[in-house]
Structures are given as structure tokens and as C-alpha cells.
Amino acid sequence: MQVFAALLLITHQLTRLAPVDVLILLLYFALVVFIGFYAKGKANTSEDFFLAGREMTAWIAGLSFVSANLGSLELMGWAGAAYQYGILAAHWYWIGAIPAMLFLGIVMMPFYYISKTHSVPGYLHLRFGEAARGLSAISFALMTILMSGVNMFAMAVVMQTVLGWNITFSIWVGAATVALYVMLGGLRSAIINEVLQFVLIWAGAAMIPILGLIEAGGWTNLKAQIAANVGRSDYTHLWSTVGHFSDNPMGVHWTGIVFGLGFVISFGYWTTDFLVVQRVLSAHNLRAAKMAPVIGAAFKMAVPFIVILPGLLALAVLKNPDGSMMHLVPESVAAATGQHSYNEVLPLMLIRYCGPGLLGLGITALVAGFMSGMAGNVSAFSTVWTYDIYGAFINKKASDKHYVAMGRWSTVIGMLVSIGAAYLVMNAASIMDYVQALFSFFIAPLFGTVILGMLWKRATHWGGFLGLLAGTASSIGMFVWVKLNDGALQYIAMSTDAKPMAENLYRALWSWIICVVVTVVVSLMTKPVPTEQLSGLVYGVTPIPDDGATTIWQKPIFWAIVVIVVFFILNLIFW
């Protein structure tokens, strides 16, 4: 998470755009605005506006699902992490995503889909009552709006540092464009732009690894060059170096990777973060809803090619103008010495290989990624605000037309609050660290609550609410403990060799365990929910409808097995 905050500290302009680059950027903005007006005519009912009419195919929902998580903050941050920590950063794309995405599609999606909920807090309302819904809706609304602001400011800073653009200009142009197309077209507009962004990111970034591998002389030569340049061979191994905290550049242990990242953080994010789940809820039938995360997982496995590989390539080929190896440094050092920082690795590689035209395409992909990040957050905010806060607690009996109007207005107001958040971050960059941490406070316990709600019919309303509350409070408590006393990390990660990255993994794991234990204990002490009220919500009391697949090629489970086999092969290849 620190890598994102560090992006804000880059201080010098890297390049400038040629006229052809500006043309490419303008073409993108023109199409985005056109899509907003085009989608407006199809956003008349609340189902149209908030769930894109539930008529998206599996491919569109799947690409949108993976694209909602493929923002530029992630691209630049993880490319920098790959330079800093080596191929270990790929864990966040593979074990930190693939199993959870498949679990969402095959196990959880039927419940989300057949309950006909509009949101994840909406599911909590059906399963655990108003208190759990209120807690998760308010925390989610706050986080999405802050994240939108963080994306907005990060885009402005990157545009300033890479191209020298004025920060206020970037914030207002980005915000106005996103507000326009989300307000007009709702989720449909956001989804169209996310699919477009996914294609654009590949078009804009794929040249870096292709040309980089040509320059390095292939993967085997690349590994040898990295080992020679950094003086150690653990930068290109995924698993063989995580037997002990001190054996790898990241300072993590395999238990943290597997249980903290691969289980709690990953399952929490991919199965309960409404920003991504909302995309799958837009699918046009149950089979498409199950297939969408499977398709998303297949594409997610390929993303390290354009994110992690450029970071690794930079360790081997990135040179100063005088021909010596360029050494990127942490932000704190870069600010003092004027060197380039880890987080500039993606723009530096882009500038190295891409002349006019290709550079414009790469920059447009980054802008699209930032705008898509804002749009994803603000469209999810608009839905949760309208359904789970306004419609649940303020005005329960308004007409459908009224809720659509509220959705549009909340988009505009949400965007204005995001702009305020962006300026807040501008004046206190450390806020970004806290926003990221705040987001993590809720995700791990929420996964505990949702998964028990779906799989254990004995879980009660009080159990769900108090478990969520206890898990969240314990996560905040551990965060504050480490902030006040660095030595606390050794107790949370259970090793004196643990580094800050390990804290996130183990904090998530502990808060999830606390949530589950409290939910189970309180549920066993309180009155069970009558079984007839759990139909459509819980495994074992819900007949799962047939998804309509007639051949093996149509079955989501078949493709999930194919994806998981490829996942294991990739992990073995880069062991």
C-alpha cells in the first residue's frame, strides 16, 4: 500500500507529448463522452441504471469484473513493487486473485444472483438484517468515495510528473468526464468504458514486455542479467524463497502468502467488495454470472505480463544516458537525491521503448485506467447510497423514477466529494496510506460474515453483526498498535524478521479469524433464524437452479478447472 502513497512524491517531468499523442488522447475522450450520451437512452429504470439492465454477456461482465481492479494505481504501483521485490509481486495477481475469483463464480455467485440483491450490503440485509447492512453500507460508501478521490489525485500527479500538466486541470477534466458518463449512463456506461479500458491497457502496455524481452534476449537471459545486476538470484522465484521471512526481498513467509493473501485478503476483496461483484450482478443469466468470474480469472492470470515483467525487465535493461545501469530508489531517497523512484518504472520503460504515437497510446491507457478507477468507485457508491442508505433508512417508499434521479444526483455529489478528497490528499499525502488501510479494515471481516452467512444456516442476525463489528474493530486495533509501536509487528506476524508488507497479510488473517469466532459463538448463544426465511440465501436450504449448460463446453465448472490447472502450471514454472 505504501507504494501508492509514494506515487504522490514524484517531483520531475519525464517527457512531453507530440501532436499525434494528443490526437490519440483526444480520440479517447471523444469516444468516452459519446458513450455516456449513448448509454443515457438505455438507463430509464433503476435496474437499468444500477445493474445495466442485467443484460450483460459473460464476456462483458467478466472483462468489466477484472478491469474494475486494473486501475493505473495498481499498474504503476505493482510494476514498482516488481522492481523492488522481484517476481514475488506476481502473487498478488495469481494466488491473491485466481482461487477467489473461481470460488466467487462457482460457489457464491448463485446466492448473490438468485437472491436478486442489488448489492453486497443488500445481501447482508436479507441474511443478517438492517444493522449489518447499515454498518457495511456506510463504511463502503465512505471508502469508495475516498478511493475515487485518491485515484483522481494520483492521476493528476502522474500527469504532472510525466507530462508536466497542471494538477487542478487534470483533476477537474478527469472528474467532469467521469461524472458526465456515469451520471448519464449509470453502470452500463461504466461497464462499456471498463471493457474499453481493458483493451486499451493491453494495446498501450504490451509493447513494453515484448520489446523488453527482445532487448534482454529472452527469459533465461533476463534471469541471468537480473541475478548479476542485483547480486542475488531470489528475484525470479515465486515460492522457493518464502520458507523464511529473511530469505526473500519482501520479508514475507509462505503462510502469510497462502493464508493471509491467498485466502483472507483475496477472498475478501474478490467475493465481497461490491465494486467488483456489481459487475458480475449485471450478467443476463445465472450461467453468465458464473462464467464471468472464470473468464475474468483467465485474463487476470495474464496481467503480470504487462505489469510484473516490465518491473523485472527494468532490473536488467534500464540504463542512464551514459550507458551505466540505472538504479531506482525509494521515494524518500529520490526526493533527496533527484534519482528516479521505483514507482516511475512503468513510465520510464514506456518512454524507453515508445516513440510518438505509441507513447500517446500508453499515456491514454494510463488515463483510461485512472478514469475507470474513479467511475467504478463512484458507480458503486451511487448504488449503495441509493439502495442501502437512502432507500433503506431515509426514504423507503419512493418511486423507481425517484431512485434513478437519486442515483444520478448521488453520482454528481459523490464526484464533488471525491474532488474534495483529492484536494485533502494533496495537502496531506499520508492520508492516502490511511485510506488504503481503512479499506482493508472492512474487507477481511466482511468476507467472514458473508461466507458464514452463505454456508452456515445457524448464523444469526446478532452473530453476523457482532462478528463484523469485532473483526473490523480488531483490524483497526492492530493497525493502531503497529503505528504506535513498531515492535508489535513481531507479535502480529509471529516473527522478528517480518517486514511491513507482512503486517497487512497477518492483520487480515487475524481479523477474519476473530470475525468468524465471534460470529460462531454469538450465533450459538442466540435464537436461530427460521429455515424458511433462509431460502435463496444459504447453502443447504436453497435449491440451486439449473444454469442451463447442456454441454461440457458450456459448464462454468469445466472452465474453472482449466483455469486452476493453468494457475498451478504457472506457479510451478516460476517456482
Binding site: 490519440i24 443484460e55 443476463h284 521503448y353 510518438p356 504515437g357 505509441l358
Partner: protein, 80 residues
């Protein structure tokens, strides 16, 4: 629902058409830029002479044009 889905995928503008038309436009811009750069290599290709002989802008422009052209035609408006 079936009728509505049919309308979305045929009479209306498909999401894939938007992707195709944008990639086609970018592909054509890159092809033209790449042709111009055949005799006027950009600064980064001057610094990296091995890159100049690969003509990445031209080739990537051709790839995007082919991809964009296929999707623009395959998902063109009004196609049944």
C-alpha cells in the same frame, strides 16, 4: 428478456464495436506515424539503434488495425 438481449446485440451499438472502432482509429494513426518514422526515427530509436530496425510503431499499428477492423465489421451496427 430474449428479445431485449437480441436488440442489445444487434440493432444497438455493441460494446465490441466501440472497442473495434477505437482500435482501428489508433491502428491507422500508428501506421501513418510509423511510415513517417521510417525515414525520421524518433529520439528513443536513435538512442536504441536495435529498435529502429524493428519499426514497432508501424507493426503495432498494423496489429491494432487488423484487430480493430475485424471487431468493427463483425459487430457493426445493424448486423443481425
Amino acid at each position: 428478456m430474449d428479445k431485449r438481449k437480441h436488440e442489445v446485440e444487434s440493432a444497438e451499438l455493441s460494446i465490441w464495436f466501440f472497442c473495434g472502432i477505437l482500435m482501428l482509429a489508433y491502428g491507422l494513426v500508428l501506421v501513418i506515424t510509423g511510415i513517417v518514422e521510417l525515414h525520421n526515427p524518433p529520439p528513443n530509436e536513435v538512442l536504441l539503434p536495435w529498435l529502429e530496425s524493428l519499426h514497432p510503431t508501424l507493426w503495432w499499428g498494423l496489429v491494432l488495425s487488423a484487430f480493430g477492423g475485424f471487431y468493427s465489421i463483425r459487430f457493426r451496427p445493424g448486423r443481425a
